[in-house]
């Protein structure tokens, strides 16, 4: 008997998929080339891949549908596309469409590159060569072009092929572009003012490109975007798991990323009013998995102990080898990796924060699904990575969401709770910074115990008391926003389960730092500077992160947000060869500490789950 096939259509998309009966709608979307974000990798553990069934038989909800979507959305014909089996011709609406979802991506346009001497290695020189005239002269086009420049003629074959005509057709001479004394390209006319570079920060969630003028050091354009690989899994591990399934998947992950970066380059060039053929140097930072996928290296061994990368050292090659559409001879530089879970992004962070310099104890933490912590001082440089999970990004939190319009980003408390949403839009959920603020507020008013139990320990103001209730499942919850208030369509509550998820995340991050302190024999008070990096870190309330114990209880003067430190490091290596070389040396110096098997980790982690009793209240001037 032949397999029955059905057609799956997507509202607003021209492509359809014909799939076998029983295939998932998520699979059908992938076949059709329709982007559905599957943050958990299509395992029914999140709600990112939900679709609305608009035509065809609506199957009964699965358990995962009910758990993730709730009765209301299930009633509105929403289903998880990873769980929804095709048994009929069906039309679904992807929700929310990826391109309509505006996320906050942290980019710094004002990059503090002060003190940095531009020494990017790229040089352009304009020449007026003479054509070979006498057959008796033993010479060639190339030799005439390079005469007197002292340059090595290491040109791409393509350039040599174009040389004879270029030389004879250009009356305005030629421009030779070199890197480190080697010729990268030849162009007609005088293009000596057109020298650009690209710094790329490739994250699991976001990809940010910085187009920079290699002569002035000025940023011409910054292009942030969401990593298009998200359709194959939101977090690193589901990305690796997808790659493990087949080498075809590795190619899919790579080609999506490279294609997207080429689009980003196009966007940056049009913003900056330049041509992509004038980009000669590219520096890339990213976690080890993104580094591997960008280069087309199978990341499968990063997913299994001992989590060894294919290579750690800095790597350089021609940009065209990885498929980037820039100047023909452009050079590509990958900053080194430290370990399987401590990548070139961490190196970029160290580069821009100068953590290795001086004897002071300084810590930098990049908060993400994997949080990397680095501690420098007393001649040591230690790094570790902890699996914080996605809770602080709003995932696995009942009303959690990414930092987008309508997300509660600030919470304060007096006799009642007050919230502030991104863009002042009607409240639809809570993002990481709002979550951390809310928990700090609940600790302050005594609705949360230090062990993390949601219970009123004493009498509460009436407005707060009303918000603390027992949810449908018999588990305590606290209503942050009542349905109708601030334009909310439903009650937005933090549940006891949400609190536990945040406790696990913050314990993972803070125990990573604690283990580094343990290695160096350093107490909280010994920390001279604590830097929070990453897109998420910068939106956090300073007091709130101390209140929940995400960072040690240090005076605000010792805590600093350092924005996109990894991207800044890439820009520094782009503009300065000595910085890039510093990165290569740093790569060999960093000591990697493995948390999971560290003898103290279990105890430190369990201790870090509780919240601090209280924190010191500092005045503004501290």
């Amino acid at each position: 008997m032949s397999q029955v096939t059905h057609t799956v259509s997507f509202v607003g998309e021209s492509s359809q998929a014909k799939v076998d009966s029983g295939a998932s709608v998520l699979q059908a979307a992938r076949d059709a080339g329709v982007d559905i974000v599957a943050t958990c990798g299509g395992r029914g553990r999140c709600r990112s891949c939900r679709v609305k069934v608009v035509e065809g038989t609506l199957p009964p909800p699965t358990l995962a549908d009910i758990v993730q979507l709730g009765d209301q959305e299930v009633g509105e014909h929403y289903r998880l596309s990873c769980q929804l089996r095709v048994n009929d011709n069906i039309t679904v609406q992807v929700s929310p469409p990826l391109h309509e979802t505006a996320f906050q991506i942290l980019v710094d346009t004002k990059v503090p590159k002060k003190g940095l001497t531009v020494d990017c290695g790229v040089h352009k020189v304009h020449v007026q060569p003479t054509l070979p005239t006498d057959e008796n002269d033993a010479t060639s086009d190339l030799e005439e072009v390079l005469r007197g420049t002292g340059l090595t003629p290491a040109l791409s074959l393509d350039t040599v092929r174009r040389l004879p005509d270029m030389l004879r057709q250009s009356s305005a001479g030629l421009t030779i572009t070199t890197f480190d004394g080697t010729v990268l390209s030849l162009e007609s006319g005088d293009t000596t003012k057109q020298a650009f570079g690209l710094a790329l920060d490739i994250g699991t969630t976001t990809v940010i490109g910085y187009l920079i003028d290699l002569i002035s050091g000025e940023t011409m354009a910054t292009v942030p975007g969401l990593n298009p690989q998200a359709v194959f899994g939101g977090d690193l591990m589901s990305r690796i798991a997808f790659a493990m399934e087949s080498t075809t998947n590795v190619r899919k992950l790579r080609s999506r990323l490279i294609g997207f970066i080429n689009e980003q380059i196009g966007e940056a060039c049009s913003q900056g009013g330049i041509q992509r053929k004038h980009i000669y140097k590219i520096v890339v930072v990213g976690n080890s998995c993104m580094h591997h996928l960008f280069l087309g290296i199978d990341p499968k061994f990063l997913g299994c102990a001992p989590y060894a990368p294919a290579m750690r050292s800095a790597y350089a090659c021609a940009a065209r080898e990885v498929g980037l559409k820039v100047a023909d001879g452009a050079r590509l530089f990958m900053l080194p990796l430290v370990a399987g879970f401590v990548g070139a992004d961490t190196l970029g962070m160290i580069l821009s924060t100068h953590l290795e310099v001086g004897s002071k104890i300084r810590v930098a933490v990049d908060i993400g699904t994997n949080a990397e912590a680095v501690m420098g001082g007393q001649g040591s440089l230690l790094a570790c990575s902890s699996p914080a999970g996605p809770a602080l990004e709003g995932a696995q939190i009942r009303c959690g969401m990414r930092a987008a319009a309508g997300a509660i980003e600030r919470v304060s408390v007096d006799q009642d709770i007050h919230v502030q949403t991104i863009g002042g839009s009607p409240a639809v959920g809570v993002c990481g910074s709002g979550l951390v603020d809310a928990i700090a507020a609940l600790l302050d008013v005594g609705v949360l115990t230090t062990s993390g139990r949601m219970i009123a320990e004493g009498p509460l103001p009436a407005a707060l008391d009303k918000r603390l209730r027992t949810g449908k499942d018999g588990i305590a919850e606290f209503v942050l926003v009542w349905s109708g208030d601030d334009g909310a369509r439903q009650d937005l509550a933090l549940t006891q389960a949400d609190i536990r998820q945040v406790q696990l995340a913050k314990a993972a991050i803070s125990s990573g730092v604690a283990i580094l302190q343990h290695q160096l024999g350093v107490t909280d008070g010994d920390i001279d500077e604590f830097m929070l990096a990453g897109a998420f870190g910068n939106y956090l309330g300073m007091r709130s992160v101390r209140r929940i114990g995400l960072i040690p209880d240090l005076p605000p003067s010792r805590v600093r947000f350092v924005a996109n430190a990894a991207g800044l490091g890439a820009q520094m290596a782009l503009l300065s060869e000595s910085e890039r070389q510093r990165a290569e040396l740093l790569g060999q110096r960093i000591e990697h500490i493995t948390l999971a098997t560290h003898p103290e980790f279990q105890k430190v982690f369990l201790d870090a789950i509780s919240f601090p009793e209280e924190v010191v209240e500092y005045s503004e001037s501290d």
Binding site: G41, R43, G44, R45, L63, A64, G233, M237, S238, I240, A241, M244, K300, G303, C304, A305, P387, G389, S451, G452, R453, I455, G474, I475, A476, Q496, A497, R500, Q503, T594, A596, T597, F601, Q602, F605, L606, D607, I609, S610
Partner: protein, 218 residues
């Protein structure tokens, strides 16, 4: 409060020293070992229930398990001397699968299992699939527990079930799997027996299995 009540409270609160003090007191008072163990087990069940409702969390549960284990250690000589003796509720071989080095969740399950009277053989982390089975055969295990904390190492849980089947001994063991990325559909897909969604849930499931295999006696 009687000493027995104080003992149960001490275990629930994870007060290890108090638990030892009060267990000595109740032994002194001449309580039957069977009754002491039953009271303690009830106390631990309450801890598990509170964990299920998320009123308690990992640190409290681990402390309670440690206090329980300390109390049980005091009772051990009496249990061994008593006519009935005490058979372990079941023998468990447990570990984190190959390729994975994450142990915290699994170790909490181990502590809870020991506190609840199971015989536990903890193989640690990065455990080869065949080693799980070799150990299970060697110790005549009833239960095999396999933890995977990464979506990239979950396939080794499938390998375990597959290898058990190929070796013709799949029915000899109850296979429970756990770890953050594990789901009920995954349990069904690979043909494991149960999902240890969290430490308390794992204990609850395995207590049920212990009853079934008839070793749940003191």
């Amino acid at each position: 409060m009687s000493n027995m009540e104080s003992l149960v409270e001490a275990v629930k609160a994870g007060e290890e020293e108090d638990a030892v003090t009060y267990v000595k007191a109740v032994i002194e008072e001449g309580h039957e070992v069977v009754n002491i163990v039953a009271s303690l087990t009830d106390g631990m069940r309450e801890v598990g229930d509170a964990f299920g409702k998320m009123e308690l969390f990992l640190p409290e549960m681990v402390m309670a398990a440690d206090a329980m284990t300390a109390a049980m250690d005091e009772l051990k000589p009496l249990i061994e001397a008593s006519a009935a003796g005490m058979v372990a509720k079941g023998t468990v071989v447990i570990g984190t699968v190959e390729g994975d080095v994450h142990v915290i969740g699994k170790e909490i399950v181990v502590r809870m299992l020991r506190a609840n009277g199971f015989e536990v053989h903890d193989l640690g982390y990065n455990v080869n699939t065949l080693d799980f089975i070799k150990k299970a055969i060697e110790v005549k295990a009833d239960i095999i527990g396999a933890s995977a904390l990464m979506s990239t190492t979950m396939p080794n849980q499938r390998e375990l079930v597959k290898l058990l089947t190929e070796m013709g001994c799949r029915d000899d063991y109850h296979v429970i799997i756990g770890g953050a990325p594990v789901t009920q559909p995954w349990v069904e897909e690979i043909g494991a027996d149960s999902w240890g969604e969290n430490a308390a849930k794992s204990i609850e499931i395995l207590e049920g299995i212990a009853e079934k295999i008839g070793k749940n006696n003191v």
